[in-house]
């Protein structure tokens, strides 16, 4: 394969891993729509950052987006926990509110400027090989790859440290609470990580791929295993295959690379859904439960 292809696939894989490992916890907490919500909620952050900096390519835009990404997760938490709102309604209320504020800000203050949220949100994975990081005159490779790679490293380290806490609070929060484990702390840590990771990924590969990798590989994993470390492994594997196969199929079809990677992940999910011996649709034909021995009373 040529270098461009390599960089694109590698970036796709890193995004799949970055979003996937966080996505496992998101899915376990039944907040799967969070990725989509964040993608809409960052708009006001981008607009405000633009108004402050006056420059469309300022890094401030990314910071604005990240801040509002975190802010929306805080609002969702507040509504769910303090105001006792259903979690799906909290998510829906929060992101539509933030997005509407963003549109109002654009219309009022920046309508004469072509500030598409596109600048930050709709990154394009195919452009990754062209956007290089230069230090002086040396070409260090694609900029986005560095950004995503470092984010992946940071998030992995955080997750290794936080593993036990997240594990407990994801699977059995009541138990964790009774043990005195600080649920809120882990939750905010996770939410902040997700916000940052998603915003970073939006800029590299666009919202659709981020949301896809956040939920579909973990969903696959969940069908095959309920053990956290296995789930993570399967998520990584599915992400890798989706990125690689997705790229080649996109080239063959000459279609959007990000969209194709998503669709490949979806297909893997559907296949898992149908074929899986424990839960799948075909389980009647595949699954033969072992006969249990009942111990005498």
């Amino acid at each position: 394969m040529n270098m461009d292809a390599f960089y694109i696939i590698l970036t796709g894989t890193f995004v799949a891993w970055l979003c996937g490992i966080l996505g496992v916890f998101i899915v376990l907490r039944k907040l799967s729509m969070l990725g989509d919500a964040i993608s809409h909620a960052v708009l006001p952050g981008i607009v405000i950052a633009y108004l402050v900096s006056g420059d469309r390519s300022s890094p401030l835009l990314f910071i604005g987006a990240a801040l509002f990404g975190v802010a929306v997760t805080v609002l969702i938490e507040l509504l769910t926990k303090k105001a006792a709102m259903q979690s799906d309604a909290s998510v829906g209320t929060s992101f539509t509110l933030f997005f509407s504020v963003g549109i109002i800000l654009v219309s009022l203050l920046a309508s004469r400027v072509d500030i598409d949220a596109d600048c930050v949100l709709h990154g394009e994975i195919g452009l990754v090989p062209f956007d290089r990081l230069y230090w002086g005159d040396v070409d260090y490779g694609p900029r986005q790859l560095w950004v995503i790679g470092i984010s992946l490293l940071v998030v992995s380290l955080i997750l290794i440290k936080a593993y036990k806490g997240l594990y407990l609070t994801s699977f059995n929060s009541e138990f964790a609470a009774s043990l005195g484990v600080g649920i809120a702390g882990w939750h905010y840590l996770l939410m902040s990580s997700v916000s940052l990771a998603t915003v970073v990924s939006f800029e590299a590969v666009g919202a659709i791929l981020v949301v896809g990798f956040l939920v579909i590989p973990p969903a696959c994993a969940w069908l095959w295993s309920r053990r956290l470390n296995e789930m993570i492994f399967i998520t990584l594997a599915v992400g890798l295959v989706s990125a690689v196969a997705g790229y080649y199929i996109a080239v063959w079809l000459d279609s959007s690379i990000a969209a194709t990677m998503c669709v490949v992940a979806l297909l893997l999910f559907i296949i898992s859904f149908v074929v899986n011996p424990r839960h799948g649709v075909l389980k009647k034909w595949i699954y033969k439960p072992k006969h249990r021995q009942y111990a005498p009373m």
Binding site: M33, S100, I208, G212
Partner: protein, 430 residues
């Protein structure tokens, strides 16, 4: 003022178009949204709206035209398929609804984007912004839209009126309905159908985000005010209508104030008010209840302590001085006066010169509290095998919330006679 009247009388045609459309759409969308809310799938609006993209693309490819009728038909078809897909995931497998929604949204939308890229590359004619083409703005309503939404609203209301109980059954207890022999699949189909109808007409006029908001927020806000389903529906519709009018009014005040987003702002404000001020579930109400509870507990503790001092005296209505009281139990200055005040307010204690006296009411309550305290201690010691050092702490809390019915039950459990009085039983040291 004149501006306000101008608006309210709907004199200006554009104002009339927008206000009427928003009222009708708001009412229809909130109604459909209530069912989504009750089934914990509020975000179905968001998912289905995104899932309509491939349909639009296919319709364009097949028909070669951007005529709304074709595009909307395509949208409805894939929107429908997405709901079917979601239901397949949740019914046939262990996938929870939020995950199904996310998977469907991403999957269908990705397919849509793939189609858009394909269209872009071919020579299909003016295809630009197909995806944006179908997403309207709330400020740009015309008389046709009023008719469409009027039709939608009527259809939705009639369906809901006729099938209210059945729809509620679907939301809460499908198995029960099927046991009763009701056509569960048809009813689910009906709800899905109404949802798709609302979403497709809605996003063509006002866009995805406003539609999603109208389907989620009115129901969520209404929930704070009532648990009664009929009232929930009525209130949600009312909120939807108020927001429609409010958003239109605000956007009428100055330039560049987009109508749709302001409708969402109004909805969010209504929600904020509901969250804080709604009776029972609202934050303010909960805070007030907590405050009342704290005061009652403080007063009760106070009178209980007084009672315990008086127990040892010969004259029950003796005056007890502050110093003597404080010898029995430690209170901080502020806390002492506050608790005394609250106990006096309840008629349990009267303040007298240089001290206080208990009243008859106070005596009864004090005795009762004492008894309940001892009762709980015995219960814990005997039935829960709690070590003696721990029972007092628990009893300090539980004594305030044991009702006479609970007391009677505990007595039966412990086999105690009606005339149980603490002194007759084994005295458990604090």
């Amino acid at each position: 003022m004149e501006d306000f009247l101008d608006f309210m009388t709907l004199r200006e045609p554009s104002v009339r178009y927008v206000v009427l459309s928003c009222i009708l759409l708001g009412a229809a969308a909130s109604t459909v949204g209530v069912f989504g809310f009750l089934r914990k799938r509020s975000l179905v609006g968001e998912t289905v709206a995104h899932s309509m993209l491939p349909g639009i693309g296919l319709a364009f490819i097949i028909s070669g035209s951007r005529e709304p009728i074709f595009l909307v038909t395509g949208a409805v078809i894939t929107g429908w398929m997405s709901m079917g897909f979601m239901n397949w995931l949740t019914n046939r497998g262990p996938i929870k609804i939020d995950l199904a929604l996310a998977i469907t949204l991403t999957g269908f939308f990705a397919i849509g984007i793939g189609l858009m890229t394909y269209i872009q590359r071919g020579s299909f004619g003016d295809h630009s912004g197909l995806d944006h083409y179908i997403f309207g703005r709330a400020a740009a309503m015309k008389p046709d839209d009023i008719r469409v939404f009027g039709g939608l609203a009527i259809f939705v209301f009639i369906s809901v009126l006729l099938l209210f109980k059945e729809f509620m059954g679907i939301c809460f207890n499908k198995e029960f309905l099927s046991v009763l022999g009701l056509p569960v699949r048809f009813l689910e189909f009906a709800i899905s159908f109404l949802t798709i109808l609302a979403i497709s007409s809605g996003i063509k006029a006002v866009g995805i985000v406003l539609m999603a908001a109208l389907m989620i927020i009115p129901a969520a806000a209404a929930r704070y005010w009532t648990g009664n389903l009929r009232w929930l529906l009525t209130l949600a519709i009312a909120f939807g209508i108020i927001a429609g009018i409010g958003g239109a009014y605000i956007s009428f005040q100055a330039h560049s104030l987009p109508t749709g987003p302001f409708i969402v702002i109004v909805l969010a404000t209504i929600t904020a008010i509901s969250v804080v001020f709604a009776p029972e579930k609202g934050l303010f109400s909960r805070w007030a209840r907590k405050r009342r509870m704290n005061r009652r507990v403080a007063a009760e503790n106070f009178v209980k302590e007084l009672y315990q001092i008086l127990e040892k005296k010969t004259e029950q209505y003796a005056r007890i001085s502050k110093t003597e009281f404080l010898k029995h139990v430690v209170y901080e200055r502020e806390s002492f006066f506050r608790s005394l005040r609250w106990a006096v307010a309840r008629g349990w204690i009267v303040p007298v010169v240089d001290g206080m006296k208990i009243t008859e009411k106070g005596l009864i309550r004090g005795r009762e509290l004492n008894r309940l305290h001892r009762l709980w201690e015995i219960y814990l010691a005997r039935k829960a095998h709690t070590p003696l050092e721990k029972v007092h702490h628990s009893a300090e809390i539980i004594e305030h919330i044991l009702t006479p019915e609970l007391e009677a039950e505990i007595r039966i459990e412990l086999d105690l006679c009606e005339n149980f009085s603490p002194q007759n039983e084994i005295h458990i040291k604090a």
